[in-house]
Symmetry: C2
Subunit: 322 residues, 2 copies
Amino acid sequence: MTSNLPVTPADVRDAATRIAGVAHRTPVLRSRTLDGLVGAEVFLKCENFQRVGAFKFRGAYNAVSRLSDEQLAKGVAAYSSGNHAQAVALAARELGSTAVILMPEDTPQPKLDATAGYGAEIITYDRYTGDRVAIGEALAAERGLTLIPPYEHPHIIAGQGTAALELLEEVGELDALVVPVGGGGLIAGSALAAKGTQERIRVVGVEPETGDDTKRSLAAGTRVAVPVSRTIADGQAADIPGELTFSINRHLVDEIALVSDYDIRAAMRLAFERLKIVVEPSGASALASLLARRLTRVPPRIGVIVSGGNVAPQRFAELLAG
Amino acid sequence: MTSNLPVTPADVRDAATRIAGVAHRTPVLRSRTLDGLVGAEVFLKCENFQRVGAFKFRGAYNAVSRLSDEQLAKGVAAYSSGNHAQAVALAARELGSTAVILMPEDTPQPKLDATAGYGAEIITYDRYTGDRVAIGEALAAERGLTLIPPYEHPHIIAGQGTAALELLEEVGELDALVVPVGGGGLIAGSALAAKGTQERIRVVGVEPETGDDTKRSLAAGTRVAVPVSRTIADGQAADIPGELTFSINRHLVDEIALVSDYDIRAAMRLAFERLKIVVEPSGASALASLLARRLTRVPPRIGVIVSGGNVAPQRFAELLAG
């Protein structure tokens, strides 16, 4: 099933070797309360405990670690207002390179500070008038930087798959693996890890109901764009699947479940009150799909990727109160 | 050093066997950010992930599991407005017994609900006019219930020590173990586990600066009462050390560090923002002592008990904003 794909389970295993000792091997949490609510044994792979607070470090480190000495010396670049920015900044620092990150000028100060804190140079642009792709490419060309994309790259996809690989190694056979979907890199890597290890496992992606581009694309058999999603899950606001990620996901993803902002907030609250973990909206969507019963079936043993935990305390309080 | 004490390291190991498979073996979290801030390798034993959200389940289960069939049939009782209430309720349910919990009538509804949710009968009393000890003892006598004290019992102390035992088994040699101090049960058990395993380990207790009864008592060589503490760390508001717990702690505790409410809030914020975990004020005090540099020395490898995570979202937001 995974042969003839542009990225393979072997690439994910290879990435796992690359990131060993650099990325955290994040814990798998269990909760009897959660099991009771879902009606299944649920295994939470907690990437909110990953370095930079999200799975993104796995792919970024894998990708940057493949660059030549010359490329590392010239430096890398990325455009992102989210977790990918910090992931590339930290990966570059860990590998003795430098990073230039292009961020919208209205990015919240804590995110700018965090990215700068990992040693990156930050260049801001006006998100309403500037074209980040054009600016990024011009900058990369001018300075000889290597652009590290957020999901459209085999090394990124393979790196993101290492979280699922660790989960399956730790807990053994699962009936389903439930994964948040944004651009599709995390679920593509996760699906490769899962189907490469356990042939019968069901891979379920979760999108915000207002941004169901991957669900529509899978139904259509080709990439479909949707209007830019209005959702609290800012890490999942992609309007069209990636070309590379979709070429994998169309073969390996069995189902897409949709969740509302309300479902996500309820999952964040449960995570806080019962699991004692901080999960950002995008990071909670897979858990939300189980709690809100958005899957077509609930098999006995389910793995869930909790993908990130970067949310400011004030924003967190607002979301839980809302 | 641990011979001739009323509870021994062997009792802690025995408790560990008792609770195996019933209590969670909680994860040990690491953070490079935290290590950098403290200037040491820090190992966080996360009892906020324990069943009922706090270490208290360990001691309660160990104690209730020692009762005779007749005692279990008659039921157990406890007075507590905090985590001990839920711990005894759940331990009783797990062991096929019943629990009556005496709680102040102004206990927040979520805590009443949580305790009732574990199947306990709740009896409320007026904390300003009622004497909970007298009411509890009368109730126990009347119904033939066995009273499960929060810390003054060898089985409670031994049970609480199992968290430290697991930590030491998992991470090996530590130079210091830092533990919150309330009535003294957690630190007594932790000290037994630590000194029984690693002779040279330093055991540091942490109290709120407004409720330094154990620090004063250790200095005086005898139990000293202080005015009831005003602190956000409600689990540490004891005004005098327990007789039994102090008889252990006076021999095994090397130092008491004091923290302010400000220190605790800063630690809760760091735990939220960087570690992505929810920690209640009492649960954060040991971590706070490291971050605020309240220890006389900072050795290379330090274990910390993060003792609980039961705090409502609204209260949490207020504390982080304050």
